[in-house]
């Protein structure tokens, strides 16, 4: 019963192949479209009783996680397993890393074991870039410091396109701690590449100093932005930002930049709410907003597996094992 999908998937679109996925900036509009289109095929697969295709049979994918992230790791693991890849999970805790092994030596070890792709999550920005210098395997960035989180951005683009049917011409308000957010960096680049407009919103302390050069609109005031937004994308605010003098208190943040029922009513009728999770209810958004019918937060999570399958497939599929 998989035959039809099998045939479709083996005809990988020419030119869409990825050797690595490090940052969204490196992707052209046609590449993003190819990833989203393939993800739609995989999404249909998820509705079937048998969710597995043999596409990556015999290939080995290593999840190399230096930062705790159960959600993202599990999403990648399911994605690779549904493609029939062998998956090995390597977390920094309890491994040679905790005994002082360097990133380079860890990478060379994986290389020697013949891993085909490394999905890496690391607290240091640029670590996935560095890996590409040391190994032949494909490297997929699952979040590096505050730099990039490309699959999160791609699943967000997928979710927006799924809801609106297109990305071109939409307007997205990205609200909150842009400065420290790898999600914001990736998402804004992806939106601009797909010709969506962006307004970043937040206090100047939480926006990058050079945000004026980002090819986006900037507002420190949330309310005037609400009426024109098709998508309201809320970023997570970490509590330690208070002690570092980025904001005086969570209460003040919630009052000035949080989404609550009052602001929800000021959105246009068709507008949707998104959040990359995990949410701080009562800070970035109130419970009634999180659970509102136009909140796509659960869709984002659901689409994560299909988009990650798509990325792995476009990196590894069709290659000789």
């Amino acid at each position: 019963m998989m035959t039809q999908d099998q045939i479709a998937l083996d005809e990988r679109p020419a030119g869409a192949g990825l050797s690595h996925l490090l940052d969204v900036d490196a992707l052209g509009a046609d590449q993003i479209t190819a990833i989203l289109d393939a993800a739609r095929t995989f999404q249909q697969l998820a509705a079937r009783p048998i969710k597995k295709v043999p596409t990556l049979r015999g290939r080995t994918v290593c999840n190399l996680f230096f930062e705790d992230s159960t959600r993202t790791r599990v999403s990648f693991e399911i994605a690779a397993k549904r493609l029939s890849a062998d998956v090995l999970n390597f977390s920094a805790k309890g491994s040679s890393v905790s005994k002082g092994e360097s990133l380079k030596d860890t990478a060379l070890t994986l290389q020697a074991m013949g891993v085909d792709a490394i999905v890496v999550r690391h607290h240091a920005a640029g670590a996935p870039h560095q890996l590409t210098r040391w190994v032949d395997a494909h490297v997929l960035n699952a979040g590096d410091g505050r730099h990039q989180h490309p699959t999160q951005a791609l699943l967000d683009l997928f979710t927006i396109r799924e809801h609106f049917g297109q990305l071109d011409g939409l307007h997205v308000a990205v609200i909150g701690d842009v400065l420290h957010s790898r999600v914001a960096r990736s998402l804004v680049q992806g939106l601009r590449t797909m010709s969506a407009g962006v307004t970043v919103v937040g206090p100047p302390t939480l926006l990058p100093l050079a945000v004026g050069q980002w090819d986006v609109d900037v507002s420190h005031d949330l309310d005037p932005v609400l009426g024109k937004a098709d998508v309201v994308y809320l970023l997570r605010v970490q509590h330690e930002r208070m002690s570092e003098q980025f904001i005086p208190s969570v209460r003040e943040y919630a009052r000035l930049w949080g989404m609550d029922g009052r602001r929800l009513r000021r959105l246009s009728e068709h507008a949707v709410i998104m959040h990359p999770g995990p949410m701080n209810r009562g800070v970035e958004l109130t419970a009634d907003v999180a659970d509102a019918p136009n909140a796509l937060i659960a869709r984002q999570v659901a689409n994560g597996v299909a988009v990650r399958m798509s990325c792995l497939y476009l990196m590894l599929g069709g290659e000789r094992a």
Partner: protein, 471 residues
């Protein structure tokens, strides 16, 4: 230069202890004086006001004449430039404590290979050079290596901790002229003011690593659009400028001597220019990487480009170049900072700051400043030798090149091209940001008191056969 007056009386001790007179043939134990003439060489000697062809005779450890005659072994030096040996105000030789990265012997060998005859190693060794014992150890190691004169910088505060003054007097007594907690800014204005005041006892120089640390908490690179894109915490320009401004104000109030290391921003250049115009006793240096490279390099996430202060943007590079051109910045100094590969081949945020510089400084200066017309060749030599020597009261280096002066010299071909190969470095480390670059200007010979430390591009250690008279 103007700030060197009145200090000369303190110096000879340093010179004697750092570098006992070592004649051309001292390695062989022969007693006769050797004699060599570099014929038809372009003599560039800013201190003597000379730029022209001549024959230069070296007899023993001194220059015997600059003119038309020739005696002894004749070495055809047509096409070469003969200049005073280069003087680096800012290096890290890592010994004691960091011998995996560099030793006094390896660092001074790299210095000689780069055309230097005097270097000033910083105090951030382990143990810290905050007392006379470590200073004397470094001087002894340099004397034994005999590749380059060494003028150690003493720490301002004990353990570089910024709290208590080190025993500057004990260090001054063994020849230290400059004090710095380099790498560690003196955060307290009170401690800085006391250091500037106390150092006046010897008219010594205080050099403060300018970084307002409350602004650079987890800083990884220059703050700007590039740090935004790369997701690395930014090091704002203001962190440097605020502290330079503070130090200039403090030094002016006390009539004290202040040296600003590794100038990296346009506003710092402007602050120093204004302070000089007001008569503040300030000197300043810039590194080859800060007048050449920008934060664009960081996009590779290769920590070889990680340095403090960080690589800035084009407008800063241009301002630093302008500061060198108009003399606001007195000296080109390398901030030669060796790190072993295992420390640099790490995640960007985990890697230490610092770049090699000694073996590339002359060629980068020629390639990036002289050839494009920012500096004349004599101005470049002034910035690499004459002015740094004067600014730190170092006698016997920096020229003039004249009868009777010590033969501390470099001969190089400014038109010769070469490619930087880290594998061929004399440093124990390999972290040069110029790897693979083709540069103009190659050192042929370096002479330290008449002895070749580099001959025909090859290092000559004192144990080697250096009897050039028999060549």
């Amino acid at each position: 230069m103007s700030s060197s007056s009145g200090a000369v009386g303190h110096i000879p001790l340093a010179v004697r202890s750092a570098a006992p007179a070592a004649g051309l043939l001292s390695g062989s134990g022969r007693s006769h004086q050797s004699l060599v003439t570099f014929t038809d060489v372009r003599v560039v000697d800013p201190a003597g006001g000379r730029d022209g062809a001549a024959n230069v005779i070296i007899e023993g450890d001194r220059v015997a004449s600059v003119g038309r005659e020739s005696r002894g072994l004749r070495i055809d030096a047509s096409g070469l430039v003969l200049a005073p040996g280069l003087v680096d105000l800012h290096v890290h030789l890592r010994e004691p404590g960091g011998e995996d990265a560099e030793t006094v012997a390896s660092g001074t060998t790299a210095a000689a290979a780069g055309g230097f005859t005097a270097v000033c190693p910083m105090a951030n060794t382990q143990p810290v050079a905050d007392h006379a014992g470590v200073i004397e150890q470094v001087l002894r190691l340099a004397r034994e290596a005999a590749m380059c004169d060494v003028y150690p910088v003493g720490a301002i505060t004990r353990g570089l901790a910024g709290a208590e003054l080190g025993e500057l007097g004990a260090m001054a007594a063994v020849g230290v002229r400059c004090f710095s907690d380099d790498g560690h800014p003196v955060q307290s204005a009170h401690v800085m003011r006391q250091a500037l005041a106390y150092a006046r006892t010897w008219d010594a120089i205080i050099c403060n690593h300018a970084e307002e640390r409350t602004l650079t908490g987890d800083a990884q690179m220059h703050e700007g659009i590039q740090s935004d894109l790369l997701g690395l915490t930014g090091w704002p320009r203001e962190a440097e400028e605020l502290m330079v401004a503070r130090d200039l104000i403090l030094a002016r109030g006390l009539g004290a001597r202040i040296h600003v290391p590794h100038v990296s921003t346009a506003e710092t250049v402007a602050l120093i220019r204004a302070a000089k115009a007001r008569g503040t006793r300030v000197t300043a240096e810039a590194t080859p990487h800060h007048f050449t490279l920008t934060d664009q390099q960081v996009a590779s996430y290769d920590p070889v480009y990680k340095v403090n202060p960080p690589l800035r943007v084009k407008t800063d590079v241009e301002a630093v170049r302008a500061g060198l051109a108009d003399g606001t910045i007195d000296a080109i100094a390398t901030d030669h900072a060796p790190h072993p590969p295992e420390d640099k081949e790490r995640e960007w945020s985990a890697a230490p700051c610092g770049m090699l510089g000694l073996e590339t400084a002359l060629a980068v200066t020629i390639t990036e400043l002289v050839r494009p017309g920012v500096l004349t060749l004599p101005d470049a030599i002034a910035a690499l030798s004459t002015r740094p020597a004067r600014s730190r009261d170092i006698v016997g280096h920096g020229g003039p090149i004249a009868e009777g002066t010590p033969a501390n010299l470099v001969l190089f071909d400014p038109e010769e091209r070469w490619t930087v190969d880290p594998g061929r470095s004399h440093s124990r480390s390999r972290n040069t940001p110029f790897a693979g670059r083709e540069l103009w200007g190659r050192v042929h010979h370096t002479l330290l008191r008449g002895r070749f430390t580099v001959r025909d591009g090859e290092s000559v250690t004192p144990g080697d056969d250096d009897e050039i008279g028999d060549a």
